[in-house]
Amino acid sequence: MTKKRLVLRFPPELVEQPITYQLIRDYDLMINILQATVTPREEGRLVVEISGERKALEKGLNYLSQLGVGMQPLAQDVLWHQDKCIHCTACIPLCPAGAFVLDREKHLISFEKERCIACGLCVRACPYKAIEILF
């Protein structure tokens, strides 16, 4: 069993389609909707937790992207473990969102979660596994 928490964006032409139903029926996936909104421009935004066999999950997500559904891991689940961080700053230039901020006096970094877009780049860059991304 694999679990993924994603932010899905549906373009207007897909909003009325029974896509989640198909994911459940055709790919044998479990879908837990954590949040659902339709924006003023009628773009649908779903925050979901999808779980199922790893292969099935891959196929299901593939199906979604072929349909033109935008996907992004859930940003809330990027964790910075301060106790493991040695404040080397290696992650700073890699972060496209500027989520790591360096205090130039103390030379200590801090993590501004609100800015993070959960791209995962910093996770690979940190030699001390101080950043964790939970999908």
Binding site: I86, C88, T89, C91, I92, P93, L94, H107, L108, P127
Partner: protein, 386 residues
């Protein structure tokens, strides 16, 4: 009047010593001048905390009943070298766990290896020991499997052939693909630059011509007191130098040793470099005696004075070409921005300036409290100015 080591040690014993960190020394020399500073300050403390690959630990695993002479040993599935006496082994920092997938799926994660075993030992965590032997008349046992902690084994001596590099390259990637190196992840088209030195706090940059750091120098090592036992591997004093003897390229190195049992988790950590491998991140600090004006001048070095070479790690470095893209100073690097070939590049570190500063502070406190005495080298390093 030059000072001697024993005069400084007497002052330490009497609680009268004046110790400052390498950062504080910059201001002192700026405001008071070299002459006055050299009279007033007795010791300048330095520090560095970063990945140091040529590290490892000699372990004596203790004799079993019946006895064994190890032929193969694994600690948490990481192989250790056994070509020593019966139960002595050497565990290297960059050794990988036997089942590590390496770079088969690129870039590999390199989750666990020698550096992590060393960290687990220091933390007092249980470590699985497995050993095989062929059996002899005097050592009949052929196999051992048990769980140990550092408290269960007689000796653990950290013994590193190369640490504390004096200056280092700044790494960039000129190709159009991401590359994964021991200098970290480098984005294509010089998207970022990584450096690895404590700069103005770094031990060998405060004694650029090895006038006081030599064989036998007592140091801060992983939170304990250790010693320099020689010039490290690849020690190369003959690189181009600026005025004040500062090397513009990687130059001197130190071989160091200390008792792992006395070290603490805060100052010794396993590290994983995506796509490259594992290593050990280690804290080292050296106290530099201000014997004369020259030492005051050397220890007043600031980040602006120290230059590093920018090297392309996508082609030039792996091919062994000596090409340099440009030169930058540590002030620019620390500020997080350098300019190479007209392009502004964000810079990130691999060694921790905050931790280097902490080490220099701790060393200062040890000396002020009389817990750490300076030692005069019993021999100098190659290239030492006398």
């Amino acid at each position: 009047m030059p000072k001697t080591y024993s005069q400084i040690n007497q002052k330490i014993a009497m609680g009268e010593v004046v110790v400052v960190t390498a950062e504080e020394m910059i201001e002192i020399v700026k405001t008071k001048g070299v002459k006055k500073a050299s009279r007033e300050v007795d010791v300048v403390t330095t520090g560095t905390f970063g990945p140091m690959c040529s590290s490892g630990v000699f372990l004596n695993l203790g004799h079993s009943k019946p006895r064994i002479k190890f032929r193969k040993v694994w600690l948490n599935n990481v192989p250790a070298y056994t070509g020593l006496a019966a139960v002595d082994v050497y565990l290297g920092a960059t050794e990988l766990s036997e089942d590590d997938p390496e770079n088969k799926v690129f870039p590999g994660e390199f989750r666990y290896g020698g550096g992590h075993v060393i960290e687990d030992l220091v933390a007092g965590r249980p470590v699985k020991l497995k050993g095989l032997a062929y059996g002899t008349n005097c050592y009949p046992n052929r196999e051992i499997e048990k769980t140990i902690t550092i408290r269960d084994i007689p000796q653990a001596i950290l013994t590193n052939p190369r640490n504390a590099y004096q200056n280092y390259n700044v790494a960039v990637n000129k190709s159009d693909r991401v590359i994964y190196t021991y200098m970290g992840i480098l984005q294509p088209r010089m998207g970022n630059a990584n450096y690895c030195s404590a700069g103005q706090l770094s031990p060998l940059l405060n004694d650029p011509l090895y006038r006081t750091i030599g064989v036998g120098t007592r140091i801060f090592l992983g939170g304990a007191q250790g010693y320099v036992w020689g010039a490290g591997t690849q020690h190369n004093p003959d690189v181009p130098r600026d005025k004040n003897g500062l090397p513009r390229a990687p130059a001197g190195t130190l071989a160091v040793t200390g008792n792992l049992k006395e070290m603490s988790l805060e100052w010794i950590r396993g590290a994983s470099f995506t796509g490259y491998g594992v290593t050990l991140t280690l804290g080292i600090g050296v106290a530099i005696p201000i014997l004369d004006e020259k030492m005051a001048e050397y220890t007043a070095v600031s980040d602006e004075d120290i230059h590093a070479q920018v090297v392309d790690y996508s082609k030039d470095y792996p091919q062994g070409k000596d090409k340099i893209l440009g030169t930058v100073n540590y002030h620019e690097l620390r500020e997080g921005k350098i300019t190479i070939e007209g392009k502004e590049i964000p810079a990130g570190g691999l060694s921790s300036y905050a931790r280097a500063r902490d080490i220099a502070d701790i060393l200062k406190q040890w000396i002020e409290k009389g817990e750490f005495l300076l030692s005069e080298p019993v021999a100098f390093l190659p290239g030492a100015e006398r």
